[in-house]
């Protein structure tokens, strides 16, 4: 057997700030090999240094960060001593890179054709006709329909999944030996994620390309990677064959990661069928058409004919891919988006017919937890005020009592004494706990949770989910849980609605739907959910 394709030894990355020496390095003594054609994953949470590891290979570290030691060899050639000029000839040609954000990694001002041709022109100097032929061929292989039209199109004309496939095409065009993929599917929904991953693995296998996948998602690792390196805070804690590491984790951190995979609740509480708190009947929701010069375009229907019930104290999940209308439905249930047809009834009262007093009371009784904890808290408002906002409008709550309730709510989410903090002084998990505190402070009877954990790290995800479940049990609010992650649904939901293209395609008790999915779409979703696969590996 020949030597490894990529060999990283004792890689150390530090911040360049003067006081950096006192702090632990961003990456300490990382060593790993990637054999030709192998699929290796580096897995870790935010701050683990996994992206730094990937970027140092190509000398692409961000400003303020430098490689402080170690060697990086590609096919026996040392990369660390190379000049920028020599490094440039390695990038693209020998090592390709796919980034996380397909929305920003393609230049919106250039056609796809121009961007694909760029690398070939630079590295190979081929004639235009040959370049075009190769681009078309590659687009066909990443399953872009009508590649000819695609060459003349701009990035905004494609969905996230398609853009990531185009990215993949542009990288593979140069026939690199190693493909570094930094969270390539994190921004995509379950189904496109699977599409892109499968395509990547398939094309890599055909061309003998090795893949170094950087990810936080153990599910992807379990499904695709042959070997895995687990990083925690810049230190490698465990590495080895995927099955070995995930099946029998030796290090406590790896075990914690594996344990934080969502899995089916073992004994789901049997809830007596309570009176419905929320009833949605034949709901349809339109997006307004694009405003034209004199009149708006025709509205676009994003949700149609949805029936949905949530019993008091029940957790009901709505799952679907992005664009399925699930988020829009969640907003409509709270009266934040108007219905085009149908009704939403809360506690026997129709939303559209409430008078002012009733509407105000409804506001306090129905709350929302947002997906993105960085956008849902006003950066200029202190936590105490943010959490207490809903109580300001309750005439029965005096300012003194409000302070007490805010204190209580923050303690409920283990953030006691955080009243005077500003959002930027807190981590993502802490912010999301603030968002939960804000939702429960008014003792609502219904909480709509819109992807409340999908922006968080695995271990934090479990923490927040557990917290959410505990509060739900404690206060007994009903919950409409919107998510794309079936693993999470399986863990917490009593019942589930599966949405596709604005309509409910399947509904039922969670375990029943998961064990015996009726609709083809549900089956596809289930098959594409990596965390279930990983859970299976780790149990085996």
């Amino acid at each position: 057997m020949t030597g490894p394709l990529l060999s990283v030894r004792n890689l150390r990355v530090e911040a360049t700030a003067p006081d950096a020496a006192d702090r632990p390095p961003l990456l300490a003594d990382l060593s790993f090999d990637v054999a030709p054609g192998e699929f290796v994953a580096i897995v870790g949470e935010s701050g683990s240094g996994k992206t730094m590891a990937a970027r140092s290979i190509l000398g692409l570290l961000p400003p303020g960060v430098r490689r402080a030691g170690g060697t990086i060899a590609l096919e026996g050639r040392e990369l660390t001593g190379l000049s920028q000029r020599d490094l440039r000839s390695v990038r693209g040609r020998h090592v390709g890179m796919v980034f996380q954000e397909p929305m920003v990694s393609l230049n919106p001002a250039l056609t796809i054709g121009k961007q694909l041709a760029e690398g070939l022109k630079l590295h190979e100097g081929l004639p235009d006709g040959e370049i075009r032929r190769r681009c078309l061929e590659m687009l066909r292989r990443v399953q872009i329909t009508d590649p000819g039209r695609c060459l003349a199109a701009y990035p905004h004309e494609f969905s996230g999944g398609m853009r990531q496939r185009i990215m993949l095409a542009s990288v593979l065009l140069l026939k690199p030996k190693l493909l570094i993929a930094d969270e390539p599917t994190t921004a995509l929904d379950t189904l496109s994620q699977r599409e892109v991953m499968e395509l990547m693995v398939e094309l890599a296998a055909q061309n003998g390309v090795a893949i170094l996948l950087i990810t936080h998602d153990l599910g992807l690792v379990a499904r695709y990677a042959q070997r895995v390196v687990v990083l925690e805070k810049g230190v490698e804690v465990e590495s080895g064959a995927t099955r070995q590491v995930l099946g029998a984790p030796a290090h406590p951190y790896t075990r914690r990661l594996v344990d934080s995979l969502p899995r089916r609740a073992e004994n789901r509480p049997q809830r007596p069928s309570a009176a419905p708190i929320l009833e949605v009947r034949q709901a349809a929701i339109d997006y307004p058409g694009k405003p034209g010069l004199f009149r708006r375009g025709a509205p676009k229907r994003v949700v149609s004919g949805v029936d949905l019930t949530v019993g008091a104290g029940e957790i009901v999940a709505v799952v679907g891919a992005s664009g399925s209308g699930k988020t829009t439905l969640g907003r409509a249930v709270l009266g934040l988006k108007p219905l085009a047809a149908g009704t939403v009834t809360f506690d026997g009262m129709e939303l559209a017919r409430m008078d002012k007093t009733q509407a105000r009371a409804f506001r306090r009784q129905a709350q929302l937890v947002f997906q993105d904890p960085f956008s849902s808290l006003d950066p200029r408002v202190r936590i105490g005020e943010t959490v207490g906002a809903a109580l300001r409008h309750d005439p029965a709550v005096s300012p003194r009592e409000r302070r007490e309730r805010v204190r209580q709510a923050l303690e409920d989410v283990s953030l006691g004494g955080f009243e005077d903090r500003l959002p930027h002084q807190m981590s993502g998990g802490q912010r999301q706990r603030v968002a939960i505190a804000r939702a429960v402070v008014s003792r609502p009877r219904l909480v709509v949770a819109d992807e409340p954990v999908s922006a968080l790290d695995m271990t934090i995800q479990l923490q927040v989910l557990t917290l959410f479940q505990r509060l739900q049990a404690q206060y007994g609010f009903a919950c409409l849980f919107i998510t794309h992650d079936l693993g999470v649904v399986e863990q917490i939901a009593d019942r589930v609605y599966v949405m596709s293209a604005g309509a409910v395609v399947e509904e039922g008790a969670t375990d029943a739907v998961f064990d015996d999915p009726r609709h083809a779409y549900t089956r596809a979703l289930l098959a594409a959910t990596p965390s279930r696969m990983a859970a299976a590996v780790s149990v085996a």
């Binding site: 506001r363 929302l368 006003d378 200029r380 906002a389």
Partner: protein, 271 residues
């Protein structure tokens, strides 16, 4: 929470402080009467008697620059105050309310924006007649559209942030949401624009004076001192030094202070 004063902010504060001192001193004392004509010494070179020389009518340049500080400063501050306060209100309403109101306001706004600002101010001055008040109003209106544009753009992006929706879920009214959550987050770019506007206002005033509709002579402003120094550039170049220096230092000070204010408004800027 403590916030550290950056060196740039300190320089800005000192320069603007200096301007205020000059203005205040100018009320009580100037070396000479700024409008007293001394035909014996036209275009006198800088000397111990006239530090920055004397102009074509023998008036002391330093004294005129001191009085000019008051007039130019007051006009610029007035223009900024008028344009920013009106611009904030109109921009917030257009951006936050949206719909047909927004479209109507933007049509009007863009129409005004289509005229060169100075032409617009000139026309307004012709209608309103010369006075400090109408000068401030004219320049304020000329700069208003760009402020509205910036505020509106800023509001549009903030309106989509989830904390604004969270405010609605909490039951806040539109006005409260707008003032408590949207306005503070929309301010930073406006602060930067406002400080540049301070400089533009001083220069535009001089342009209007040059066209004969600004501050009428013999009252000095930095702008009209510069324009009247222009014909004597070769014979008495020192005439432009005092007003030029004043404008440059003031703008530098205001811009540095504006940057500091923007940083200070940013909650992430903790010492």
């Amino acid at each position: 929470m403590r916030r550290r004063l950056k060196p740039n902010a300190l320089v800005g504060a000192v320069l603007v402080g200096l301007l205020l001192v000059v203005v205040l001193v100018g009320f009580a004392w100037t070396p000479y009467d700024p409008i007293a004509i001394d035909l014996d010494h036209p275009l006198a070179a800088p000397s111990a008697a006239h530090w920055f020389g004397a102009d074509e009518f023998g008036r002391d340049v330093l004294s005129r620059a001191m009085l000019g500080a008051r007039i130019s400063g007051a006009i610029a501050a007035g223009v900024v105050a008028a344009a920013v306060s009106l611009g904030l209100v109109l921009g917030l309403v257009a951006g936050f309310v949206g719909g047909w109101l927004d479209r109507l306001m933007m049509i009007v706004n863009d129409t005004v924006l289509a005229f060169p600002g100075i032409l617009l101010a000139l026309a307004l001055m012709a209608v309103l007649g010369p006075s400090y008040g109408s000068l401030i109003l004219a320049l304020g209106v000329a700069y208003l559209p760009s402020i509205i544009r910036v505020v509106r753009a800023s509001v549009l992006s903030i309106r989509e942030r989830e904390f604004v929706e969270a405010s609605r879920v909490a039951g806040d009214g539109d006005l409260y949401t707008m003032l408590r959550h949207v306005l503070p987050n929309a301010l930073p770019p406006v602060v930067v624009l406002a400080t540049s506007l301070f400089g533009w206002a001083i220069l535009s005033e001089s342009a209007l004076s040059f066209l004969g509709v600004g501050v009428p002579p013999p009252a000095p402003t930095w702008g009209n001192m510069l324009s009247s120094a222009r014909p004597y550039m070769e014979r008495a170049s020192w005439l432009s030094i005092a007003p030029g220096l004043c404008i440059a230092l003031t703008l530098l000070g205001v811009n540095l202070l504006g940057d500091a204010l923007r940083d200070w408004l940013d909650p992430r800027d903790d010492a």
